[in-house]
């Protein structure tokens, strides 16, 4: 198992180095094929690790493999000894499985997508580095290694968003993602420092018994981690970077900004779930943040014209669901939604990528339409993903989303009325989701074509199509295969729940009520979908007119609640002002001092220079004067 785990980390790193150093000499599809081969191998290794763990008895399902001593600081109580190693348990292996699995498909997709791009080798090198960082993040033996991966994925995200660094938008978006993530990282670091101070260790293996026994945790400690999770997983108020991150290539959006990296925050919360449960009100903060983010992003997604932005906001919204689940204590449900979301959101992004590819870079939904005739396969695959996102039975999203809503309702039913509010927000978000998904699909594929007549959209090449097909299947059956709570068919929960904290609140409803809610949610979703499809399905002109002459609230949505503008006003502008003050200080005072010193000595030397007139006799004369002075001194 050590070998498998080691290879899982070494292969992506080696490939990243190989492509980064020598990739420039490879042409055409070679870098992509190499990277895809590596990713597929990693998936195989992850499966091997999974099978190995499954063969173990439930309470012994972990493998700790240390490779070498990394840090050994301090001594006694203050000692911090960390190994570079791997911690395999159902949680980390689950993440590794879908990261490498979905990752492989996106690598495959990228082969064609990036074939004609300049610098595809760079792209694949970063992608391999990302895979490595993500695997370190989930498999790392201690929190510091997790943090290393955390920073690594942040770096790769920055590099890949800014892949097209010649474009100002991309470079700016990369910087924004990087900076906003740093804010979250501070929270993560504070959490780590505090954890070490309280428990004296950061290793997952050593923390396992500690966390199992812990009863009270400072809520701020847990919230430190949660701030980190908010940064990485784009929750309020740190979500602003994710929509801008769509400036990166579309497969990157699919892999990093939808399926894998942004779920790192969920992973962190799940990994430390006992701490969160023991931290009094911290879980409530998580729940409300998640629900608010879900609703907020869902509202914004209603009126976005850029297809990738719609998907980006839906990602933020779905991540909100996952945090809602975490906050409710339904950690297993959160993991479930992470996985189904990885399937259908990757599918949707890759489908959007195929559309954009077919339209030579057009991302504006208003300039699409009627594409189902040109791209029938893509349309079919994306429809499956859209149904999954909208939560329509029997597509994947339905099961995970419904489970989360069910838990919220169950807790309300058990006597906590505030949970009904959370449930209501979730249901409202679900309706919004169905509506904007229908809008997006209809604007893209339905109705009449508004495509630039010079373009001749064509179906994506084979590797892209294969990836789409596989993800389509996963989006259809992935939910039902992994769990259906109402029927007590919960293989994922059986697998992963033992390593998660037990829910602090009731999560089960009476069956009748459960089925009823399910039917209600289903009805709402279908209804919202129908409305969306009808609204945008017919003649486009009135719909466009409606969007253009929108009332004030809709304007707010179109402007994405002007969060960016608010940040610019409250944070960026003051900071810029201070920076400019500093600049002025530097220019006037600091530089002035140096320039003054320079010109003073120049003045001085200009004066002294006059003595150097080149006349030998003058030198001789002054020499004599000097001798006279010296003699006078000697005799005095």
């Amino acid at each position: 198992m050590n070998l498998v785990a080691g290879l899982l980390l070494i292969l992506p790193l080696a490939m990243a180095a190989l492509l980064g150093l020598f990739g420039k000499r490879l042409h055409g599809k070679t870098p992509g094929l190499l990277a895809f081969g590596m990713a597929a191998t990693c998936f195989g290794l992850a499966v091997a690790a999974f099978l190995h763990l499954r063969g173990l008895p439930e309470e012994a399902r972990f493998v700790e493999a240390s490779f070498w001593r990394w840090l050994d600081l301090g001594s006694g109580d203050q000692r911090l000894a960390l190994d570079v190693g791997v911690w395999l348990d159902p949680l980390s292996v689950t993440w590794a499985l879908f990261v490498t699995g979905v990752g492989s498909l996106i690598f495959l997709y990228s082969i064609s997508y990036m074939e004609h791009e300049e610098g595809a080798w760079r792209y694949f090198s970063y992608l391999c580095l990302f895979l490595f960082s993500m695997l370190i993040l989930v498999l790392g033996e201690n929190l510091v290694l997790t943090f290393l991966g955390w920073e690594g994925v942040g770096l790769c995200s920055y590099l890949l968003i800014g892949f097209d660094y010649g474009k100002e938008v991309a470079a700016r978006a990369g910087r924004k993602a990087f900076v906003v993530n740093r804010i979250g990282d501070v929270g993560f670091l504070i959490g780590m420092f505090w954890t070490w101070k309280l428990y004296g260790t950061l290793g997952h293996g050593e923390m396992k018994p500690i966390m199992a026994a812990v009863t009270a945790v400072p809520p701020l400690l847990a919230l430190g981690y949660f701030v980190g999770a908010c940064g990485k997983s784009a929750q309020l108020p740190l979500f602003v970077w994710l929509p801008d991150a769509m400036a990166g290539p579309t497969p990157v959006s699919a892999l990093i900004h939808a399926a894998t990296m942004v779920t790192a925050g969920i992973y962190l919360v799940l990994r430390l779930s006992p701490l969160f449960v023991a931290a009094e009100w911290a879980l409530d903060v998580v729940a409300w943040t998640g629900a608010a983010t879900a609703l907020f992003a869902g509202l914004i997604a209603l009126r976005q014209r850029d297809i990738k932005r719609v998907l980006a906001y839906s990602t933020v919204s779905q991540l909100g669901y996952m945090f809602l689940a975490c906050g409710l204590g339904a950690f297993g449900a959160a993991a479930f939604h992470v996985i189904t979301h990885a399937f259908f959101k990757a599918l949707l992004f890759l489908g959007a990528g195929a559309v954009i590819h077919a339209l030579h870079g057009e991302q504006d939904l208003w300039k699409m339409g009627g594409l189902k005739h040109h791209l029938p396969k893509t349309a079919r695959a994306m429809t499956a993903g859209a149904f999954a996102l909208a939560g329509i039975f029997p597509f994947a999203g339905f099961f995970s989303k419904d489970e989360i809503l069910g838990v919220a309702f169950a807790q309300g039913y058990a006597g906590d009325p505030s949970r009904y509010v959370l449930w209501g927000m979730g249901v409202l978000t679900a309706a919004l989701t169905a509506f904007y998904t229908a809008r997006m699909m209809t604007l893209c594929f339905g109705g009449t074509s508004r495509v630039d007549p010079h373009l001749h959209p064509h179906e994506a090449p084979a590797p892209m199509a294969i990836a789409l097909q596989v993800l389509m299947v996963a989006s259809i059956v992935g939910g039902a295969a992994l769990g259906f709570e109402a029927l007590h068919w919960m293989p994922l929960h059986h697998w992963i729940d033992p390593v998660l904290a037990a829910p602090p609140h009731p999560t089960h409803l009476p069956p009748a009520l459960n089925w009823g809610l399910m039917a209600l949610a289903m009805m709402i979703a279908v209804l919202a979908w129908r409305i969306g499809a009808k609204w945008y399905g017919g003649d486009f002109a009135p719909a466009r007119q409606a969007e253009l002459t929108a009332p004030r609230f809709a304007k707010l949505l179109q402007g994405r609640f002007f969060v960016d503008e608010l940040y610019a006003l409250l944070i960026v502008r003051p900071l810029r002002f201070v920076a400019e003050l500093c600049l002025e200080f530097d220019r006037r005072v600091v530089d002035g001092l140096f320039r003054g010193a320079g010109s003073f000595s120049a003045l001085l030397s200009t004066t002294v220079r006059l003595a150097q007139n080149g006349v030998v006799h003058a030198y001789a004369f002054w020499m004599v004067v000097g001798a006279v002075l010296l003699l006078t001194l000697a005799l005095a």
Binding site: Q612, N613, G614, V615, H617, A620, V624
Partner: protein, 100 residues
């Protein structure tokens, strides 16, 4: 015995004439001659000061001075030659190459 002070006064006068020649004359050759005068004045001091004690040591020091003077003259005259080749003149005031 002639008092040492007389020798030393004479040496001072010779040295002063040397300085005067070096500072006042413009002809580089004469300037070098003045330097020779100053070196000779120094030799007189060496020998006069050593007369009543270790005369041999005074002579040895004077010998060193003569050697240095010989070296100085050789290089100095070579410089004069080079200067003349460059300027067709040996007047020191016509050369201001060292001006800053």
């Amino acid at each position: 015995m002639v008092p040492q002070a007389w020798y030393l006064l004479l040496s001072a006068l010779l040295f002063g004439l040397g300085i005067a020649g070096f500072v006042a004359r413009r002809n580089t050759l004469v300037m070098f001659m003045s330097v020779e005068l100053m070196l000779n004045a120094a030799n007189v001091v060496f020998l006069a000061a050593a007369r009543d004690h270790v005369p041999a040591r005074g002579s040895a020091c004077a010998l060193f001075v003569i050697a240095v003077a010989a070296a100085e003259v050789a290089v100095g005259l070579a410089l004069v030659l080079a200067l003349f080749r460059l300027r067709k003149s040996v007047q020191a005031d016509e050369v201001r190459e060292l001006r800053a």
